[in-house]
Structures are given as structure tokens and as C-alpha cells.
Symmetry: C2
């Protein structure tokens, strides 16, 4: 078993067993605090990733996070430029914060954010991106001053983080929003995403061009999109259509 203490692997599975008995967010936070401490973690945050028009505050599921940093982070909308968040959107595997690269030229705020976290005692961190079915994108980011991150401990942390997230999602039961688009609006957007003009789509669906234009128009209104291209992008982003 090389450098890893046997305790860790056992405790990872015991943590998962314990999770099933936790019924409140606070109970999950307490259990996470205890169990993640063995790897050196002191802070963690479990949050959805905001779309451009959303704010991150409404998407946070659980957190034990330095309050001053959280306030500064949200006040400055740091999630828009956070290298860790950016990497979350591009990978499915857990990663260390240090692996989240950024170009100081194109993203000058990246340095500011990483330094800000360090100022609050969070120099090192580990982050698990969560990619769900309906575009539910989230992450569990964890930090501590002296982490025990090795090829042996990482899978244990990964497993614990995954199950902790699932439990939190279950307990907090985020009401999944129903698809706001009608069938016709979805079809019209889908064909638009495939490069069809309104006239093309009308022929495909056996209605007039004018009807498709109307469907696209109402989809734009529902998605607060400026035009068809915008509406398709929003619909893809929110997984309202599949192509």
C-alpha cells in the first residue's frame, strides 16, 4: 500500500456510508469537515457554475469558506475569470488548483484571484468538476494550507467528494426547471442549429416559413435572446435542444 495509510481508504468508505444517514446541509458540512481534514482540507465550497447572466451566489449548495474571501469573490464576480472555474468547464477529472493555468495577458484577473485566495490562507487546493445530464455543471473545490495529495490519496478524495456532492444535491433537492420551450420552438431551434433557414425548416416540418419565424421569435423572447444565433447558443448552453 506504499505511503498511504490504510486508515484513509477505510475512512473514505465509512464516510460514504455515513452520508446516507445525513439529512441536513449542516450535517453534511460537519461530516465533510471531519473527513476531509485527514487530507489537510480546511475549507471547501460546493457550487453550481453560473452562466454569463447568472450570479454565483444563488448556485452555492454548501460551503465552509473564509467569509471575507467569499464576499470579495462574489462582489467582484471573480467566477468570470477564475482559472479554477475555467478549467472546471474543460475537464471532467479532479485537478489541483496549481494545474489551472492562465495567461496573464488575456486574463490579468487570474493572478489577482489566485493571489487573493492565497491571502486568505488558500494557496493549495483540489477541485472536482461535476458534469451532469442536463448541463448541471458544478464543482466541489477544497483547500487547506498543507494538503496530502498523492496518487494514492487523490482517488479517495475524488470518491468522497463525488458522493458528498450527490448527497448534498439530494438533500437540497434543487427543483429542476422544466424546459420552457414548446415542442415546435425546440424543433425550429434544432433545425436552425443545423444550419437550416426558416424556409428550409418550414419545408421539413410541413408548415410555412412564416410559422417557423414565429416559433423562433417566441423562443427568442423566452430565452431573452437578441436573435436566432443567440437563441440557439442559449438553448445549447442550457441543454434545451440536442444536436
Amino acid at each position: 500500500m506504499s505511503g498511504r495509510s490504510l486508515d484513509h481508504t477505510v475512512q473514505a468508505f465509512e464516510f460514504i456510508e455515513e452520508l446516507d444517514r445525513l439529512a441536513t446541509p449542516q450535517a453534511i458540512i460537519d461530516a465533510m469537515e471531519r473527513s476531509f481534514a485527514q487530507y489537510g482540507f480546511e475549507n471547501f465550497i460546493m457550487t453550481g457554475l453560473p452562466h454569463p447572466e447568472q450570479r454565483i451566489e444563488g448556485l452555492v449548495l454548501l460551503k465552509k469558506w473564509p467569509l471575507g474571501w467569499y464576499e470579495r469573490y462574489t462582489r467582484n464576480s471573480y467566477d468570470r475569470h477564475d482559472p479554477v472555474i475555467h478549467l472546471c468547464r474543460r475537464t471532467v477529472q479532479p485537478f489541483e488548483w496549481g494545474e489551472a493555468r492562465y495567461d496573464p495577458d488575456t486574463n490579468p484577473k487570474g493572478q489577482e484571484i489566485m493571489q487573493g485566495a492565497a491571502d486568505f490562507g488558500m494557496r493549495q487546493g483540489y477541485c472536482l468538476p461535476i458534469h451532469g445530464l442536463n448541463g448541471f455543471e458544478a464543482c466541489l473545490s477544497m483547500s487547506g494550507p498543507d494538503l496530502d495529495l498523492t496518487p494514492q490519496t487523490k482517488p479517495a478524495i475524488h470518491l468522497m467528494a463525488m458522493y458528498a456532492f450527490e448527497r448534498a444535491r439530494l438533500v437540497l433537492a434543487p427543483a429542476p426547471r422544466p424546459n420552457p420551450l414548446t415542442n415546435r420552438e425546440r424543433e425550429a431551434l434544432r433545425w436552425a442549429a443545423l444550419g437550416k433557414s426558416a424556409a428550409d425548416t418550414g419545408e421539413i416540418l410541413g408548415v410555412t416559413e412564416r410559422t417557423i419565424t414565429a416559433h423562433i421569435g417566441s423562443a427568442c423572447a423566452k430565452l431573452t435572446a437578441a436573435n436566432k444565433t443567440h437563441a440557439v447558443a442559449r438553448a445549447l448552453q442550457h441543454r434545451l435542444i440536442e444536436i
Copy 2:
């Protein structure tokens, strides 16, 4: 630790350590065969899931699967009606085959498929859906005549399956294609995806509307897109732009 043998949890982590040293598909298959046997698994298949116009044969990464059943399965395109596949598309959590319900009225082939698998000795199974950056991607389905599936063993199997899949993907990974778009083409598409007209984007980037039109046009050519909306959809799909 209740009914779970300590060996299992330890061996799960040892399997993950071992994976990093495996360089060939066959080595991964052999290791999986050994390590999954402790839970009663004898067969497994790791496969991407086909789009309507695709065939499943080209998407299979690894398998140790009854040949007769595989041939019958692919010949009849059973993946179109397989209840296990259907459930894969609707959940992110691993599940037992028996949890994959189907309505005999709307999906008469469901019964035929489940019975066919049973005829090849696969009455019981466990399946892990794999969700990547673009949503549903693949699955790892495992079977055996007498499985040790308990709330204690399932997370261990889950972890092993997850890492086995990642390793297989790494070993079999096709070389990732570089982004074919130039910086300006990307910027132009990005603003288009946010609902900006060519004139808007020109003002934003400090060039003329005509220039933006040219960038969009060349992006369409590279992406073989019929128009701007199509190009944005393709770029989002292939993660060439982020919004």
C-alpha cells in the same frame, strides 16, 4: 465496516494504482477481469453510445463479452432499444440492470434484449454511465451470474469502473485536434453567440463590419457550416469557443 471485507476496499485502491502502469488495452482488460472478479463480474463492456446515425461497433473501447451475444446485439442494433442504454441517458449514477425499467407496450424489444442477455448467462448486471463535457458519452456495463452488490461494495465498484474507463480513454485516445479557428474567427463567433451583429462586434473589436463578416465567413468555411448560426452551434459543440 459491517459486511464488507476490508480486502475489497484496499483492492479497489490497489487496482487504481495498478491502472497507471497499464499501457495496452489488453493489459487493462486483464486487470479488470482480475479485479472485478472479486465482486462476481465475469463480463464487461466499455463503449460510447451511438447517435442515431452511428453504429455502436465503432464506439466500443474494450470488452470481455460473450461473442455470440455481441454479434446478435450489434446485428439487431439492440442499442436502440436497450433499457440499460436508455437509463444511461437519464442518470449519472451507477445502477443495477434490474433498475432499468421498460414499458413492454412502447418498447417490446426491451424484453427480448434482457431475455437475450440472460440466455447468455447475464441475468444480473451493474452499469456506470459516463458523462463527459458534452453530456452523455459512454458507459461501462458489467455482468456476472452472482454479484456482490451492496451499499458497501457499490462505491468501490463505482470508483474502479470510473478509473478503468479514464485509463482506457487515455490509452485509446485519438490525438486531440488543434483548434482550427484563428483568434479573430473565435472572437467573432463568440460575440455572435452572445447575440451581437457583425456591426456590433466590429465596434467592440475596433474593426469594420466588413471585417467581422469576413471572419465569420471563413469560420463557416472551416466548420463546413451553412451560416453563422450553424457555425456557432458547431463551435459550441466542439468546444472551440466558450461563452
